[in-house]
């Protein structure tokens, strides 16, 4: 993918080059369903490049905040199928920043194994007496996530 | 101990010791040799030996007008690479820090980028000196192994220095170690071959000047 970026020549800024690359990727997604991820941290991006790319991509309808091992933010851009994903680590430092070309970023959908586990839990909840609700221990577990 | 430690430790230390030993040995052996007393009477109106020596040194900085045209390349090129070497060796911060660490002496230096450019010019100029030596029939005829070897040990530190900063071909530490080893070779050879001209040119030219002046030449 980096090799492709070089074709745009030195005149275009890096943000423009990535933008053009995303355009290709999005047409591939539309035609064949092929997905792509750009790891923005692996590119020699300065803050201005990031801001420029973010601005050109714009904002779509979906903005999510995840609490999974620290915070993560997922935003649909102005182009359906292009998502901006930002992972935060210790002390809200940016631990990862990616642009996904996909119908839905993997991190948003529930993992099949999690679904299976949840199905067992909810079945237990159904058989248990209805007034009890979630236990204190459950809440503690959830807040840890 | 890796190669760089070896180069920076034993290799360069021994090389410097050999160089200093050789230089002092040869210089003292010549300077204390003494001269047979000259019983002739100096010509009237000639400058004293010191003045004559300095005059000769200055005079030989440029070729005699008769040969100025024929010698223009050697003259110009010789200045280019000698000044280039001096700039690279004494104008680059890491080099000066090497000297400072040994002697305590330090002076302002040039931006590294300037040194790289001067280094490249020096390289080309030294290469041109070899081409000249090989293509000029007279020079070729009078050149011996010493001349070629001296040329090689002079150009090697320049090549290896540039290669090291350019990270060409190997890891930086390895390239740097090779740079230092090439300098060690240069230092060791310095007192024993034609490179000793660095110490003797002014001595020999001065002596010649003083001698000839006495004769009124």
């Amino acid at each position: 993918m980096n090799a492709d970026l070089c074709h745009t020549g030195p005149a275009a800024s890096l943000a423009d080059a990535v933008f053009a690359e995303l355009a290709h990727a999005l047409s591939r997604l539309a035609a064949t369903g092929e997905e792509m991820v750009v790891d923005l941290r692996s590119l020699p991006f300065g803050p201005t490049d990031l801001a420029a790319l973010s601005e050109r991509l714009g904002t779509g309808e979906v903005t999510c905040t995840l609490e999974v091992a620290g915070r993560s933010e997922v935003r649909e851009t102005g182009f359906a199928g292009i998502w901006w994903v930002r992972h935060l680590g210790d002390g809200d430092e940016v631990a990862g920043e990616e642009v996904h070309v996909t119908r839905i970023p993997e991190i948003l959908s529930s993992h099949p194994d999690d679904v299976a586990f949840a199905a067992r839990r909810i079945a237990d909840a159904v058989t248990a007496s209805p007034q009890e609700g979630p236990t204190a221990a459950d809440e503690e577990d959830i807040s840890r996530g | 101990m890796d190669l760089l430690d070896f180069a920076r430790g034993p290799a360069i230390n021994v090389a410097m010791a050999v160089m200093v030993f050789g230089v002092l040995w040869r210089l003292f052996a010549i300077l204390f040799l003494g001269k047979a007393p000259d019983r002739t009477v100096p010509r009237m109106g000639t400058p004293g030996p010191l003045g004559a020596a300095l005059r000769e040194i200055a005079r030989r900085m440029v070729p005699h007008p008769t040969f100025a045209f024929a010698e223009r390349f050697s003259f110009f090129n010789g200045w280019v690479f000698h000044v280039g070497l001096a700039v690279v060796v004494f104008g680059f911060r890491p080099h000066v820090l090497f000297i400072k660490n040994l002697t305590g002496l330090s002076w302002p230096t040039l931006p590294s980028g300037v040194v790289y450019v001067v280094g490249a010019i020096t390289l080309v100029s030294l290469a041109a000196a070899l081409v000249r030596r090989l293509t000029n029939p007279v020079q070729r005829f009078i050149s011996g192994l010493d001349d070629y070897f001296s040329w090689v040990v002079t150009i090697l530190p320049v090549i290896t220095g540039l290669v090291a900063v350019g990270h060409v071909g190997a890891r930086y530490e390895t390239l740097l170690a090779i740079h230092i080893l090439s300098i060690a070779v240069l230092l060791i050879w310095l007192p024993f071959g034609k490179l000793f001209h660095a110490f003797l040119v002014f001595v020999s030219r001065g002596t010649t000047g003083a001698f000839l002046a006495r004769r009124g030449v």
Binding site: D114 | F28, A29, R93, L102, V114, Y172
Partner: protein, 351 residues
């Protein structure tokens, strides 16, 4: 102790979904410059993996490496590693002591034969039968060799384990050697540094766990993903080096202007580590950014390279003595040669 649950199941029990693996893998993949497809595979593998049994041996060391890896502020991304491994033996972090801890080690070795990872910090003393450092009555050498026998891989954490480090510094009174000097029949991964960057340690463990193989190593056994780049080449002060602007001290004008630290001893040009790119404490800063030159702590024998505040280009060793001696000898030899020549000449003249 390792059990049969997958990491996904374990996290789920703590109320953490498998999204954590996606996030972890994308973080680590970015740090290690893995292709996005590989990061994805990593997430899937991690979710399916069993907890990795880890036996941590501490020999001649200062516990700084353990401090570094455990400096945690809360349940965040970087700490997930502690959910991925089962630390079956660790002097400092273990609750039990005495016989029980040695039993735990043996039990882990038996149960996870061929699969457990041994992490070592500290070097091994070999002089005088290795008596300078022992645990439970065994020399470090014996403990190491016994423990690595059935290991899958060995990770030498810290410069002491990787290269001998400070215990091996001149004059090396205990005859300290590195783990790689002793363990020859297992893969040994070196994560040097004093201490190493925590992400380099945890990242390597996570890589082993996900892919079951050793990451690509350089000629000193260091993962290229973390030790592939030279500090000097990635240093933000590099433009000052090229312009010839050097700080001459730690409080002069150059230092205040953030100029290059070469002259005050920076070893960046010959040091390979991720400090300049990954930085420390989750990306806050790194030594050069704080105004101190690089010590070269991830390189072998960094302690004996002529001094932390001596410029890199200085020669090392007894240069002055050697050259002074040579000068004297040269002068004497020269004068003697001249005297001999004079004598010969005058006797020729007479004769």
């Amino acid at each position: 102790m390792a059990d049969q649950k997958t990491l996904g199941e374990r996290l789920a029990e703590h109320g953490v979904s498998r999204r954590a693996f996606v996030k972890y893998a994308s973080w680590l993949g970015s740090l290690m410059a893995l292709p996005p497809a590989t990061s994805r595979a990593m997430a899937a593998e991690l979710a399916k993996a069993k907890r990795q049994s880890v036996i941590w041996l501490s020999f001649q060391e200062c516990t700084g490496c353990t401090e570094a890896i455990t400096r945690s502020k809360g349940p965040t991304l970087e700490d997930l590693i502690f959910d991925f491994i089962s630390l079956d033996y660790h002097h400092t972090l273990q609750a039990v002591s005495g016989e029980a801890i040695e039993e735990a080690r043996h039990a882990a070795m038996k149960e996870n034969k061929g699969k457990y990872v041994v992490i070592v910090d500290g070097s091994v003393p070999m002089k005088d039968g290795g008596i300078y450092s022992t645990t439970a009555g065994h020399s470090n050498y014996d403990t190491l060799m016994e423990t690595v026998k059935d290991a899958f891989a060995v990770i030498s954490v810290g410069t002491c384990a990787a290269f001998g480090g400070i215990p091996k510094a001149n004059p090396n009174p205990t005859g300290a050697v590195s783990i790689g000097d002793l363990v020859k029949d297992k893969p040994v991964i070196n994560i040097p540094g004093c201490p190493p960057i925590p992400e380099a340690m945890t990242g390597t463990v996570a890589y082993l766990l996900s892919f079951g193989k050793v990451p690509e190593l350089d000629h000193l056994g260091r993962p290229k993903a973390f030790f592939g780049e030279n500090i000097h080449d990635r240093c933000y002060r590099r433009p000052f080096y090229e312009r010839g602007q050097f700080a001459r001290g730690f409080d002069d004008e150059g230092a205040r202007n953030g100029w290059c630290l070469y002259e005050v001893g920076c070893k960046g040009p010959t040091t390979y580590n991720a400090c300049a790119t990954m930085k420390w404490n989750g990306g806050v800063s790194f030594p050069i950014q704080s105004g101190h030159g690089c010590l070269g702590c991830s390189e072998p024998d960094f302690w004996d390279k002529g001094g932390f505040y001596v410029p890199l280009s200085a020669s090392i060793g007894p240069t002055a003595k050697l050259v002074g001696g040579a000068a004297l000898a040269g002068a004497v030899a020269g004068v003697a040669a001249a005297a001999v020549a004079r004598h010969r000449k005058s006797s020729l003249n007479k004769g």
